[in-house]
C-alpha cells in the first residue's frame, strides 16, 4: 500500500502517480492508519535526546514547564535508543562523535525519525572547522531540520509538529525510502 499525498489526500502508489482509492477496503485501511495507529504514534513520540551542546539546553527548556513538550506527548525523554522514536540531534557533532551517533541510530527500533536541531547539526553552523561534521545528514538520514542557533523552543516544537505530520502520512510499515517515494509534508 502507498502513502497519502498531503495536498490531495489521495493514496500515492509505487510509481509516484496518484490513484484514487477505489475499494472500501483501501479506504478502511487508510482510515485505520490515519486515525488509529499513526494518530497514536504522532501523539506519543518519545524523543531520544542526543544533546551535545547549546541546543541541548534549549531542548531541556522545551521540556521544562514554560514551553512544555509534554503537550505533545513527548516529555518522556528516553535515553535508551531501544525505547525511543525520534532522535533529536541537538548540537554540533564533531567527527569524533559520529560513530556514537551512528551506533545510536542503528540501535533505535523502527519506526524512527530524526530531527536535526540547530544550525550545527543541520549544516555545521558557525563551525566550518576540521573537526565538525558539516551537517549530520551527510552520515545519517534526517527527516526534519530545525534551524536556529540555538532554535527557540517554539521552533523545536514546530519541528516536532513537522515530524507529527510526517508520521501521520506513514504507511503501517516504514516504506517510504524502500518504495522510492518522495514524501510531501
Amino acid at each position: 500500500m502507498g502513502v497519502s499525498d498531503a495536498r490531495s489526500g489521495a493514496t500515492v502508489g509505487t510509481t509516484g502517480e496518484p490513484f484514487v482509492a477505489t475499494t472500501r477496503l483501501d479506504r478502511l485501511v487508510q482510515m485505520i492508519r490515519k486515525y488509529g495507529i499513526n494518530w497514536a504514534r504522532k501523539y506519543s513520540l518519545w524523543p531520544m535526546p542526543f544533546g551535545t551542546a547549546c541546543c541541548a539546553i534549549e531542548l531541556m527548556a522545551t521540556a521544562a514547564s514554560r514551553f512544555d513538550v509534554a503537550r505533545f506527548g513527548a516529555e518522556a525523554m528516553r535515553f535508551s535508543p531501544r525505547q525511543s522514536d525520534v532522535l533529536i540531534c541537538a548540537g554540533r557533532v564533531p567527527i569524533k562523535l559520529m560513530p556514537v551517533l551512528q551506533r545510536i541510530y542503528i540501535q533505535m527500533t523502527e519506526p524512527k525519525w530524526v530531527i536535526s536541531m540547530g544550525a550545527c547539526a543541520s549544516t555545521g553552523g558557525v563551525f566550518n572547522t576540521y573537526a565538525v561534521v558539516q551537517g549530520i545528514d551527510q552520515f545519517i538520514p534526517v527527516d526534519v531540520y530545525v534551524p536556529g542557533c540555538p532554535p527557540r523552543p517554539e521552533q523545536l516544537l514546530e519541528g516536532i509538529m513537522a515530524i507529527q505530520r510526517i508520521v501521520e502520512q506513514e504507511g503501517v510499515t516504514r516504506s517510504v525510502d524502500r518504495l522510492g517515494l518522495k514524501l510531501t509534508v
Binding site: 539546553i57 514547564s65 569524533k96 556514537v100 563551525f127 572547522t129 573537526a131
Partner: protein, 406 residues
C-alpha cells in the same frame, strides 16, 4: 562473611559518551570491581570543534559569537571574559556605565549557570523538581537577556570597548521586579535539598578533594572553594565593578561575600553554589538602582567600536568609521604582543590568552577552560566509590563539554 578474592570481580564498563547523566558528551572507561570503581579513565574530545583555530580566522568582535558556545550554561559570562582579555590586550579602560552593565550581566549569567548545575546535579540524583523549578527561573533571566540584547541564549553581548548596545530604559525596572522571584526559588531549592536525608546521604563524603589536592589539580571556582581554597578573582584580581575606583571617582568596590566550605565533597560544592547565587543576587540588587548615565562604548574616536546607525547613514565620517571597523582588509589594529585576561565565571577562572600580531584577528586565541582543569581531578576523586556516585560527583563538578573540548 564474604572474603574478597585478590583479583576481585573486575570488569570494564563504558559510561557514555551518550548517557543521560553525563551532561553532554563525556566518556568514562571504568574498571569496576563489582560495583566499586577501581580505575576511571575519562575520554574527552567528543565535542572538540576547533574553537581555538577559529579564533585565528575571526576578528575580535566576530569571535564573541563563538565564545557564547563554550560554557553554554552562562554564555554572557564567556563573552565578557573574552572581551576583558581583548581590552587588556588593547589597553582600553571601559566607561562606568559599561562596567556596571557588564557586572550585572556577569552576575545574571552566574545565577543562570548555578541554577542549571544545581538542578542537573539534583536531577541526576533523582530530584526532578529542583531541575524544573530552576528552569522556570532561568526562563525569567532569559527574558531579561532578551530584553537587553535580543537573544535569550547566545547573547554575544559585549564588543571591544563596550557592549552590543545600550539597555532599553525599561530594563532596570524589569530586573528589579523579577529579583524577588529568582531569590525565592533559591530558598525553595534549599528547602528541597539541603536537609533532605537522601540528598545528604548521596552527596556527603563523596568525591572529596583536599585543599592541597585542589591547588595541585588547578581547580578553580566552586570546586576549589568547597575544598577551602580561598580564591575568587573578583576579590583577588578585581575587575569591572569589583575593582576599587571603578568609576574613576574613587568609588568602593561592590561588597559581597565569597562562600568557602571545608568539606571538599559534593555536598560542600552544592552549598557553595547556592550561596554564590544569593551573593550574586545581592550584587545585582546593589547595582541595579545605580547604573551611571553616560556612554556605553569607550573611546568612540579611536575606531574600536561601531558608531551609531544614524551617523553611519547620515554622515560620511560615520560611514568611513563603520567601514574601517568592518571590512576585512581593515578592522582592528591592536598592539603586537600577548595578553591574558581572566574572569571568575560560575565554573571557575575562565581566561583567554591572546597573542596578537597587529592584525584584525588574533594570532592565537587560547581559552583556559575551568572545566578541563576541574575534570582532570575526576578520576582521583571517584576511585573507591560506587557507580551511582559517579553521577553525584559529575553533577557537582559541573563539567560543560563545550568548554572542556572547545
Amino acid at each position: 562473611m564474604i572474603r574478597e578474592e585478590p583479583g576481585g570481580d573486575r570488569w570494564t564498563l563504558n559510561f557514555g559518551p551518550q548517557h543521560p547523566a553525563t551532561h553532554g558528551t563525556l566518556h568514562l572507561k571504568l574498571v569496576l570491581d563489582g560495583e566499586r570503581i577501581v580505575r576511571c579513565v575519562p575520554e574527552i574530545g567528543y565535542l572538540h570543534c576547533g574553537f581555538e583555530k577559529l579564533g585565528e580566522h575571526l576578528d575580535y568582535n566576530q569571535y564573541v559569537v563563538v565564545t557564547d558556545r563554550m560554557n553554554y550554561l552562562s554564555p554572557a559570562a564567556n563573552n565578557l571574559a573574552w572581551h576583558h582579555a581583548c581590552e587588556t590586550l588593547f589597553g582600553i579602560d571601559l566607561t562606568p556605565r559599561c562596567k556596571v552593565l557588564r557586572t550585572l550581566y556577569a552576575e545574571l549569567a552566574r545565577v543562570l549557570d548555578h541554577y542549571l548545575s544545581v538542578g542537573a546535579a539534583a536531577l541526576d540524583l533523582g530530584a526532578l523538581t529542583a531541575f524544573v523549578y530552576g528552569f522556570n527561573e532561568r526562563e525569567i533571566i532569559y527574558d531579561l537577556f532578551e530584553e537587553a540584547c535580543g537573544a535569550r541564549f547566545t547573547t554575544s553581548i559585549s564588543r571591544v570597548g563596550g557592549l552590543f548596545r545600550d539597555i532599553p530604559p525599561t530594563w532596570p525596572a524589569a530586573v528589579k521586579a523579577n529579583l524577588p522571584r529568582i531569590g525565592d526559588c533559591i530558598e525553595e531549592l534549599e528547602k528541597l535539598l539541603v536537609s533532605n536525608r537522601i540528598f545528604i546521604e548521596r552527596t556527603k563524603g563523596i568525591g572529596v578533594v583536599s585543599h592541597d589536592d585542589a591547588i595541585d589539580w588547578s581547580l578553580t571556582g566552586p570546586a576549589a572553594r568547597a575544598s577551602g581554597v580561598k580564591r575568587d578573582l573578583r576579590k583577588d584580581e578585581p575587575y569591572l565593578c569589583f575593582a576599587p575606583g571603578w568609576d574613576g571617582n574613587g568609588s568602593s568596590p561592590v561588597p559581597f561575600k565569597v562562600p568557602i566550605a571545608q568539606g571538599g565533597d559534593c555536598y560542600a560544592r552544592f552549598l557553595v553554589r547556592l550561596e554564590e547565587m544569593r551573593q550574586s543576587l545581592g550584587i545585582i540588587r546593589l547595582l541595579i538602582d545605580n547604573i551611571p548615565p553616560g556612554p556605553v562604548n569607550a573611546l568612540p574616536d579611536e575606531k574600536l567600536t561601531l558608531p551609531d546607525k544614524r551617523e553611519i547613514y547620515f554622515s560620511i565620517e560615520g560611514l568611513i568609521h563603520h567601514f574601517e571597523m568592518v571590512m576585512t582588509n581593515r578592522g582592528f589594529t591592536p598592539p603586537v604582543g600577548e595578553a591574558y585576561g581572566s574572569m571568575e565565571t560560575a565554573n571557575g577562572e575562565l581566561g583567554y590568552y591572546i597573542v596578537s600580531d597587529g592584525g584584525r584577528c588574533a594570532y592565537r586565541a587560547r581559552c583556559r577552560p575551568p572545566s578541563l582543569m576541574n575534570y582532570q581531578a575526576f578520576s582521583a576523586m571517584i576511585e573507591g566509590h560506587q557507580i551511582s556516585d559517579i553521577v553525584a560527583v559529575l553533577g557537582s563538578m559541573n563539567i560543560i563539554a563545550g568548554e572542556l573540548d572547545r
